[in-house]
């Protein structure tokens, strides 16, 4: 299986922030969740992959080609937190403006998606709701043959129903085996439903790069009244209150905990939150 997305030794500095030698890859056909807290470097990485920014060193490749290759964008679709179309454009104007750039543009397919998503062809882009705008952007991307979809927080600000609908569209996008998604988000519940792989970035560095199930199967959330001293070293993101404690713990270390301890399977959100908390407490 070849890699659809490859990042090797990527470094990029801004005042007050730096991407520090990040490397990861996404095999073809998978959906990779790219998670991290605000300011971790997700958008910077996506901007480099989409050719909007340039790395100080390292390389980023999409479908085996440098990401600055303009011809590559015929096969790449990029969806930001909101689509960037001129506000007075209608879906018809969007097709007239963008369709000619893509040799594989399918007009019939575009109109089918407009109908399916309930998008009026004559309505101005600025008059659509946020969720409808995202669907319109997806209708554009689905109307020509793309192999990689880069998503930069596309579900932010959407209500649960709109998010659900958008996630269904992403799942449908993945049905052909040769399509890949890189889904950058801090809404980890979206990734529980769609991601095969997780790349977790913290403060400009990759903290985890691997299988989604392996990430959540490795840890559990532990809650109780009193954490034995010998277990403190294994507690990740420990929070102690008057009503007890909670922390994340590797499953291999939960043996020997008091009987009143409650353990539950960790979600991606739990893992991220506790790891972040742990990192912050170490900085202090």
């Amino acid at each position: 299986m070849s890699n659809a997305i490859e990042v090797k030794g990527l470094c990029k500095s801004y005042p007050g922030f730096a991407l520090k030698n990040i490397s990861f890859s996404v095999p073809e056909g998978l959906c990779c969740g790219f998670v991290g807290p605000n300011g971790a470097g997700k958008s910077t990485t996506l901007r480099i992959l989409s050719g909007q920014a340039f790395p100080d060193s390292g390389e980023a490749r999409l479908l085996g080609r440098p990401c600055t290759d303009a011809a590559l964008r015929e096969e790449i679709a990029i969806l930001f937190d909101q689509p960037y179309f001129q506000g007075d454009w209608t879906p018809v104007d969007i097709e007239k403006s963008l369709g000619p750039f893509y040799p594989s543009w399918n007009s019939g397919r575009y109109r089918e998606y407009l109908a399916r998503f309930g998008l009026e062809p004559g309505k101005k882009f600025k008059d659509f709701s946020r969720g409808m705008k995202q669907k319109l952007a997806m209708a554009v991307h689905l109307s020509h043959d793309t192999k990689v979809l880069l998503l930069d927080e596309p579900t932010g600000g959407l209500d649960p129903i709109a998010r659900d609908e958008l996630l269904d569209i992403f799942r449908e996008y993945l049905l052909p085996e040769n399509r890949t998604i890189l889904f950058s988000t801090h809404i980890t519940t979206d990734l529980e439903r769609i991601a095969d792989k997780i790349v977790y970035i913290h403060d400009g560095s990759i903290a985890y790069d691997g299988d989604r199930e392996k990430l959540t199967d490795t840890y559990c959330v532990v809650r109780g009244w009193h954490l034995p001293a010998e277990k403190r070293a294994h507690a990740i993101g420990l929070r102690q209150t008057d009503s007890g404690y909670e922390c994340l713990m590797d499953l291999t270390h939960i043996g020997g905990l008091p009987s009143d301890t409650v353990t539950e399977k960790a979600s991606i959100n739990d893992v991220i939150v506790y790891l972040e908390r742990n990192a912050k407490s170490r900085e202090v």
Binding site: S50, Q52, A53, F54
Partner: protein, 219 residues
């Protein structure tokens, strides 16, 4: 390239109606002087082209354009070609409306083709100089930050240079401009050719600067 030009033109959908004011402005100007109609047409239509950058910034269209399978150099060249089309439209509009303005103007002008060529060359030089002042700054900084240095200040400087020229002419007893025009009249094709070449060099310099600047701009 044509697709990019069409895309830029479609992007200013809401501003296109302003173009209808330009012939009106030219005819009003023609009441006072028909010779200035072509240069004014060039100035107005080139000023209109700043809307490409304004709309791009208003709707963040740079982020759309950079997702298209087109490299940055083509985007810059496409915009320059579109501005060149607007220049040609300005010049030709000025010449086309001149006969109408001559019917009621206080200062009428009936040039032959050589003088039209000279005026066209002069307009091209104005266009190239404005292009050099504006476009690289706008490609570098965008509309909001770039319009002060890229448009308003060059316009003010142009006005000041014009005033200085007129003052100098007055100081030399009104002979400077007259002598220049006489010289131009005697060597009109050479002077026109020289001005065109100078304009082309300035335009090429502007294009090279913009290509270099936009190639490394980050969003």
């Amino acid at each position: 390239m044509l697709k990019l030009m069409k895309l830029d033109w479609t992007a200013i959908k809401c501003y296109r109606i302003r173009c209808l004011l330009i012939p009106v402005a030219l005819l009003v100007n023609g009441i006072f002087s028909t010779i200035l109609m072509a240069p004014l047409g060039v100035f107005l239509l080139f000023s209109f082209s700043i809307n490409f950058f304004a709309v791009e910034e208003q709707w963040n269209l740079n982020r759309l354009y950079l997702t298209l399978p087109v490299n940055r150099n083509r985007m810059v060249v496409g915009r320059y070609l579109l501005s060149l089309l607007l220049f040609l439209t300005g010049v030709l509009s000025g010449f086309a409306l001149m006969p109408f303005a001559n019917l009621f103007s206080f200062s009428r002008w009936y040039p032959d083709w050589k003088w039209r060529l000279a005026l066209g060359a002069f307009c091209f030089l104005i266009y190239a100089l404005m292009n050099l002042a504006m476009y690289p700054v706008l490609f570098k900084l965008g509309y909001q930050k770039g319009r002060i240095w890229g448009y308003y200040i060059p316009c003010i400087l142009t006005g000041l240079i014009y005033l200085a020229l007129v003052e100098y002419d007055i100081m030399t007893g009104g002979t400077f401009i007259r002598d220049a025009l006489l010289y131009a009249a005697e060597h009109i094709l050479t002077v026109s050719g020289g001005i065109l070449l100078l304009g082309a060099a300035v335009w090429a310099l502007s294009l090279c600067l913009s290509l270099r600047i936009y190639a490394r701009r980050e969003f």
